[in-house]
Symmetry: C2
Subunit: 192 residues, 2 copies
């Protein structure tokens, strides 16, 4: 692994941090060159096009999400504990306490949900993967009688995703500092 790989990693991380607030469409080689100290043309040694850059940024975001949200929860016992950890880690991720200053997926999804291609496909995969993780933890919790709710695990995952999205709006737009309580009440409502 040459030094170019390290540079590329650094560039992608910088771009991802920028994209959290400006979105993938807001990325530009010019500003990214300034932010990283590289020249604009130097960036093209690593990314053949803007879409290639966007793809790398999305993949990095997914990797960070798995490392900072999913993986730690997997260390909990399967079932309710794991479901709680997944949800709680997700709230931290949204609040900017895990690896990134905020959750980039919502804006990525909005930008690309009507624009077919690799970026959109990656977003679909990660969303399905996330819901499957929630659903499977919920399913085990049901079998162990750790939660009362008897709905389809996919339904529980759907509602947990929703509660986290509402939390994100409350947190980022309304800047409500007490909204984590609402998100936790919602969690109990969903599993009971």
């Amino acid at each position: 692994m040459g030094k170019g790989s390290l540079t590329k990693i650094h560039v992608v991380e910088t771009a991802l941090n920028e994209a959290v607030s400006s979105g993938l469409g807001g990325l530009s080689f010019g500003t990214l060159a300034n932010a990283t100290g590289l020249s604009k043309s130097g960036l093209f040694a690593h990314f053949s096009s803007k879409e290639d850059l966007q793809k790398a940024v999305v993949e990095k975001a997914i990797a960070l999400f798995i490392a900072n949200v999913v993986a730690p929860a997997r260390r909990q016992k399967a079932g309710r504990d794991q479901l709680t950890a997944l949800y709680s880690n997700h709230l931290d991720w949204i609040a900017g306490k895990r690896g990134l200053p905020g959750c980039p997926f919502v804006i990525f999804v909005q930008e690309f949900d009507d624009h077919n291609g690799d970026v959109r496909n990656a977003l679909i995969m990660s969303q399905k993967l996330w819901r499957r993780a929630l659903a499977s933890a919920a399913s085990v919790a049901q079998q162990n009688q750790q939660i009362n709710r008897q709905a389809h695990p996919g339904q529980i995952a759907f509602e947990l995703v929703g509660a986290a999205l509402a939390f994100q709006v409350s947190h980022n737009l309304l800047r409500d500092r007490n909204t984590r309580d609402q998100a936790l009440v919602a969690f109990n409502q969903i599993i009971n």
Copy 2:
């Protein structure tokens, strides 16, 4: 009211339809000029700057939301019927069946939630107004014993907002055509 006002209305509507998919940052006077038949400089007779245009677009979106989602529900009896209508109309709005090809607010919020100014303030006001409408309908439904859930009305509003957001992701990104059922199951879970 001269003919300029009509032109302005037409331009704002065109811009709003474009912004549903591209966001407010994706708007440009060039493409907007082509789409409306006006010249680029002619647009500046109506909007003094890009931010001015964005503000007009957001205000139009809010007006459309009120006219197509809130107002029809207000014709229902206060209480559970009204709450159901608000929620159901919201789902239709998200699915592009009411006045616009989709819901623009999520992408607007993501773009402007860390960028203070008139646009952000308008988005905050409309979000609070919407949650208040949900909460007050829920509160009446509680008093009339039409719903079992005894949580704070604000909590119920929070969860309904979340369910609608999950519905939007399922509908637009995953293109799940059966997700309305999930959204309705979530509704019952929230009010019971």
